[in-house]
């Protein structure tokens, strides 16, 4: 698969910062609003109130948008939802946090969808990507998927015209006899590799921990034109005093490990 590789590594993988293309992003969030988005997270809220996946997702998106705008106030965001297929929630790309907050308030779970087809999402993205490029921007689709047994499908043709980057966050139940999150994950990876322009990242978690979701969102802040391959991600780096003995104290979570 042809993939546009970011120009910011030497062959040894060391970081370089060449004066290369640097476009502001148009980021299209597509949030799965199937009933499985209402599954509760492990930790409850401040007053013991249960937190659903959707609650965490909304907070994670706000975290992402605020952080992205702190880095570069020119990035913009739009919103879609996924039930059986994708549909617009807020179509205009905007760099206003208020606007994102208003869109997220409209986000609510739907009934059980049965199947998930990404074709329309890719169609929308392809169309929007052309507009973004005309403004010297790049488009990124950010899918947040919540179903543990339903493999997403698509009929997107094989094409050399990859106009947008595709990132995925997958929240699921722990694997068991009644579900198949591994198969779903594999289908998401296939879709990603099929469509993405720059290196796309996919993260999954079945732990139900919001802070893990937030950490994944922060890694996904990575600008597509400056990314390394997912296998080589070395962040977040740990800020601990360097000592001759082991870096992390026992019981500390190793942030680089995939959580499943």
């Amino acid at each position: 698969m042809e993939r546009t590789v970011a120009q910011s590594s030497t062959p040894q993988g060391r970081y370089t910062l060449l004066p290369s293309r640097y476009s502001s992003e148009d980021i299209l969030f597509c949030i799965d609003v199937d009933t499985e988005s209402l599954v509760e997270m492990k930790v409850t809220g401040p007053n013991g109130r249960p937190i659903t996946r959707l609650d965490s997702i909304k907070q994670a998106i706000l975290l992402f948008i605020n952080a992205k705008l702190s880095i570069n106030p020119d990035h913009r965001f739009a919103f879609a939802t996924l039930t059986k297929s994708a549909s617009w929630l807020r179509k205009e790309f905007s760099s206003e946090v208020e606007s994102a907050m208003a869109a997220l308030r409209l986000l609510s779970a739907d009934s059980s969808s049965g199947h998930a087809d990404l074709t329309q999402l890719f169609k929308i993205a392809y169309h929007e990507a052309k507009k973004s490029r005309a403004q010297n921007r790049i488009l990124r689709v950010f899918l947040i998927y919540c179903r543990s047994s339903i493999r997403p499908q698509h009929q997107w043709p094989v094409t050399n015209q990859k106009l947008f980057t595709f990132d995925v966050v997958y929240l699921h139940d722990k694997p068991g006899p009644e579900n198949c999150p591994q198969k779903v994950y594999d289908a998401l990876v296939d879709a990603l590799e099929h469509v993405t322009e720059y290196e796309g990242y996919i993260f999954e978690s079945g732990q139900g921990l919001s802070r893990v979701l937030f950490r994944h969102m922060c890694i996904l802040l990575s600008h597509p034109q400056q990314r390394c391959l997912q296998d080589l991600i070395d962040i977040p780096k740990s800020l601990t005093k360097k000592s001759p003995t082991a870096d992390s104290a026992p019981g500390e979570e190793n942030p680089a490990a995939s959580s499943q």
Partner: protein, 378 residues
């Protein structure tokens, strides 16, 4: 057609102008010529001229969409009559040809007309300035005439004095080409604004003109006109003498500004082995970089902001939590951090190590700050 829409032929010409103008022209307001149809067939254009703006009203008539618009100039410009072919005034070209050949279906016509009128306006102002009875001004004009691209105009200054303002483009060099990976869509330019008070009152007191350096807005990613100290205007100097001195100084500072990009770049690259691959860095001007780091299970972002005078001037830091949020859901940010061990003489690798050590401690303070902020919200 609905009320408050712009008739299509007019809209086509206006949109073409706004998308294709070589100068940043804006529409300030739109209104309708008749309360009966309510269509927006009139608007004010704000046109840059001599480092200021002139406002012209463009008057179409929605009922006669094939006709050319009238243009109404500003109140101080009553003597600007570009449609009048001046007797014996060989210089003043009339745009009458453009207007008589007006083709409403060609979307490029309005832009051509406005640009042509602006040229004529420039000539008109030059003529007005040339007619001012002021020895000093006449002398200045004669010496700078060969320079290209100068715009000038006469205006009433404070207390009814008259002033002549010059906008002198500086540096023949293409700044855009000097920046590798330059993202600027427009040509960046630097101008010297020179304002001479004129008139009888000042004949015996050749005063220093008011001087200001003005740059196109995007240039501030590379160079700050505010930080640039203008060389002194000595007594009895004239523009022809001052400009080369200014340009020499400016040229060397621009060259320095361009090479300081790589100094900042080197620092950013030196941070990567310790802080990990940045989530995003500005690769052209190297003014900003953001890293994702953690201390135990506390994950947060470190934002570095590098000033133009780096390393003479130190960077500025800000931390942003991924786990603590204020009541509106925004992640908690630290106040801007400026107190840390710093020396401009350190090698970039040493700077990086010192920042790492500093942040190992500082992030614990930040975590406490975040937790306290959360407690205050309860």
């Amino acid at each position: 057609m609905a009320i408050n829409t712009v008739p299509p032929l007019i809209a086509a010409q206006l949109n073409y102008l706004l998308s294709n103008s070589p100068l940043p022209i804006n529409v300030e307001q739109m209104w309708s010529g008749s309360k009966h149809h309510g269509l927006l067939d009139r608007f004010t254009l704000v046109i840059p001229f001599c480092l200021d703006y002139i406002r012209w009203d463009v008057i179409y008539n929605a009922l006669y969409p094939l006709a050319a618009p009238d243009i109404i100039f500003g109140p101080e410009d009553e003597s600007f009559r570009p449609y009048h072919v001046g007797g014996g005034d060989g210089d003043l070209k009339s745009p009458r040809k453009s207007l008589s050949d007006w083709n409403c279906k060609d979307p490029t016509w309005l832009l051509s007309l406005i640009l042509e009128l602006r040229e004529l306006y420039m000539t008109y102002q030059r003529k007005r300035v040339g007619e001012v009875d002021d020895e000093r001004l006449k002398f200045e004009l004669s010496t700078i005439v060969p320079r290209e691209g100068i715009e000038m105009y006469m205006r009433s200054g404070i207390e009814k004095t008259e002033e002549v303002k010059f906008a002198v483009p500086l540096l023949g060099v293409d700044i855009n080409k000097m920046v590798t990976g330059c993202p600027w869509r427009h040509q960046q330019k630097i101008f010297l604004e020179v304002i001479f008070p004129v008139g009888r009152k000042y004949r015996h007191a050749p005063s220093t003109p008011r001087l200001k350096l003005v740059a196109s807005p995007e240039l501030k990613a590379l160079f700050s006109t505010e930080d640039f100290r203008l060389p002194p205007w000595l007594d009895d100097m004239c523009m022809a003498e001052y400009l080369p001195i200014l340009e020499g100084l400016l040229q060397s500072q621009i060259v320095d500004a361009v090479s300081s990009i790589d100094v900042r770049r080197k620092f950013i690259v030196a941070l990567a082995p310790l802080f990990g691959r940045p989530v995003e860095a500005d690769p052209v001007f190297c003014r900003k970089v953001a890293f994702l780091t953690s201390s135990g299970v506390f994950t947060f972002l470190v934002h570095f902001s590098l000033p133009l005078q780096f390393p003479k001037q130190q960077p500025v830091l800000m931390l942003q939590s991924s786990q603590h949020f204020n009541p509106s859901g925004a992640p908690i940010k630290s106040p801007v951090i400026t107190e840390f061990p710093w020396s401009s003489t350190w090698e970039s690798s040493e700077m990086a190590e010192r920042f790492f050590d500093f942040l190992v401690e500082e992030c614990l303070n930040f975590k406490k700050y975040c937790n306290e902020s959360l407690l205050q919200q309860r």
